[in-house]
């Protein structure tokens, strides 16, 4: 369903800040795959997600979704296929607009924006029902400005927005990293619920090895712009954090340095 073929990306080429963030990456996802992505800072995890989302053009390679080459499509057109949740809770929602207005924007992802009403009253029931599944009491606050919500509430809402119109691929860029542990666990639980319910193909970056092991049916580890580990199926199910650390040392020849990745 998702095919990344030999994609490379270098930032600031020809300057002292030159950074080869993706080095000839290839990755294929099947329908319904829930892939967790781990790796240290600067490994290229977010860069890979941004390459798929089209935040900037890639230097070489192709990205296909359901066989359609989207490499040259601008970001807003690719959005028709993608649901995205960002690390920063501020990034995923429009703070000065109401909860229902944000959801109405998300419902129209992939459609051209016309001069029809921006939100129909019939939609409100749907929004209330979906918001109540979050268990945050947001269903009674449809017209509240999103800027008044907490980080966790905003992240949960963003998740709902990303999946309101079923995406072909859900991209989660460390979407729980900025939350306190309790809220993070809750948002992750909601993620699992929605992904399972809608059978979404998902790429989830996380800093937490345990989360990466517990969730999803496949795990990839990135380092220095490469995918260095790809674990799936039965092997993934029996995986432990220790296994992962061993494998990392085997493949990379160094010790896994990031405390954050271990303790998360």
């Amino acid at each position: 369903m998702l095919e990344i073929m030999n994609v490379s990306k270098t930032f600031n080429p020809g300057t002292v800040n030159e950074k080869q963030a993706l080095k000839n990456i290839s990755l294929t996802l099947k329908d319904g795959d829930f892939v967790t992505v781990i790796g240290g800072n600067g490994a290229g995890k977010s860069t890979m997600l941004n390459a798929i989302a089209g935040v900037w053009p890639v230097d070489q390679g192709h990205i296909l979704i359901d066989g359609q080459d989207i490499t040259k499509l601008p970001e807003y057109k690719r959005a028709a296929f993608l649901g995205r949740v960002f690390q920063d809770p501020m990034n995923g929602t429009a703070a000065t607009m109401g909860i229902e207005e944000n959801l109405a924007l998300a419902l129209r992802r992939g459609q051209s924006r016309t001069l029809r009403a921006g939100i129909k009253s019939s939609e409100r029931e749907v929004y209330q029902r979906l918001l109540s599944t979050l268990g945050l009491g947001l269903e009674d606050r449809l017209t509240s400005k999103v800027g008044l919500l907490s980080g966790g509430q905003r992240q949960a809402l963003t998740l709902l927005m990303a999946t309101l119109k079923k995406p072909k691929l859900l991209l989660l860029d460390e979407h729980t990293a900025a939350l306190d542990p309790k809220t993070a666990a809750k948002v992750l639980e909601t993620t699992e619920m929605i992904v399972n319910r809608d059978k979404l193909t998902t790429l989830m970056i996380t800093h937490n090895m345990k989360d990466a092991i517990v969730h999803g049916n496949r795990l990839i580890m990135m380092m220095d712009g490469h995918i260095i580990l790809d674990i799936r199926g039965e092997e993934k199910k029996s995986l432990t954090v220790e296994d992962l650390l061993h494998k990392f040392e085997e493949v990379s020849g160094e010790e896994f340095a990031s405390d954050k990745a271990i303790l998360g």
């Binding site: 989302a53 995923g92 029809r116």
Partner: protein, 305 residues
């Protein structure tokens, strides 16, 4: 300092405030909705006045002339929008470039720096002569007020549509907007077009009102527009929550600005200093949010509940 002089000057201040109110609504759309300080408007205001006056001089109907003025303003907004999005120039600089270019365009439209239009020879919609002693349906204050209400109704409708909502999202959080499939570049150009269209319409009315268009008539217009936006928010911000009422607050803010201006003039201040005064007042009001958060913010409750 005869108080009657001040009272007699007030209807004129209301009329001017209303005409500039349309301009201020245009500024609100860029400054508050799109989060862009668009300096194009200093040029667009004159473009609107120049186009309207020249067309009327050549015998065109006043409504047609104002319509073309509006279209000319939208075109100027489109130029700034394309400089900003297609050519990647920062919004402020894009506005300044268009504004500078418009100075020449405005001179070419008028053929010289100043073009007058005689209220007795042409069928003007508004004029400073139509404030007192005319039938109510010719009264400038009423006519401009009705236009503002109509404009607010149309804008309120538009910003509630799918396209209008996506435009608001673009100004609020363009990263989120793109992730939701919104063409943010298109929306920025569109917003700048709407804004500058309104500013040019205001210029067309102002040209008729004062009986001439002048190449310098838009100088500092952005500051007056911002002043109206800020005054409107300061006075009515707590009461007016709805988008339509917020636009109304901007128009009322513009009237208050001209009231205050009249009072300052009546007090006998050197009128050469008026622009300096306006700039200082706007600077202070723009600083208030920063000062509030820096010096008057409530201490954060440390250590949780």
């Amino acid at each position: 300092m005869n108080i009657m002089n001040l009272i007699n000057a007030m209807p004129g201040a209301v009329a001017q405030g209303l005409i500039w109110g349309i301009m201020a609504i245009g500024v609100y759309i860029t400054f508050r909705v799109l989060d862009i300080a668009d300096l194009t408007v200093d040029g667009t205001l004159c473009t609107g006045g120049a186009v309207c006056i020249m067309m009327m001089q050549s015998g065109q109907n006043v409504w047609v002339s104002m319509g073309v003025a509006l279209a000319a303003g939208m075109l100027a907004g489109m130029v700034t929008g394309l400089l900003h999005t297609f050519m990647g120039i920062p919004a402020i600089l894009a506005g300044i470039l268009t504004q500078l270019g418009l100075y020449s365009v405005n001179l070419k439209i008028m053929g010289k720096a100043n073009q007058a239009i005689n209220v007795d020879k042409f069928d003007l919609l508004v004029s400073l002569r139509y404030i007192k002693g005319v039938p109510f349906y010719k009264n400038t204050i009423l006519l401009v007020a009705v236009q503002i209400v109509l404009l607010i109704v149309v804008l309120y409708w538009f910003f509630g549509t799918e396209l209008g909502c996506s435009l608001r999202a673009t100004g609020c959080n363009d990263k989120m907007a793109r992730a939701q499939g919104i063409n943010t570049d298109f929306n920025r150009v569109l917003g700048l077009m709407i804004s500058n269209g309104l500013v040019a319409l205001s210029g067309a009315l102002l040209g008729q009102y004062q009986g001439f268009a002048d190449v310098n008539m838009g100088r500092g217009a952005i500051v007056i527009g911002l002043a109206a936006v800020i005054i409107g928010e300061a006075v009515f911000g707590k009461v007016f929550r709805n988008f339509g009422f917020r636009l109304l607050a901007v128009a009322l803010g513009s009237i208050i600005y001209y009231f205050v201006l009249q009072i300052v003039i009546w007090l006998g201040i050197d009128t050469d200093l008026l622009k300096l005064l306006s700039a200082a007042v706007v600077a202070v009001f723009l600083a208030i949010p920063t000062w509030k958060s820096r010096y008057f913010s409530k201490p954060v409750n440390k250590g949780g509940a």
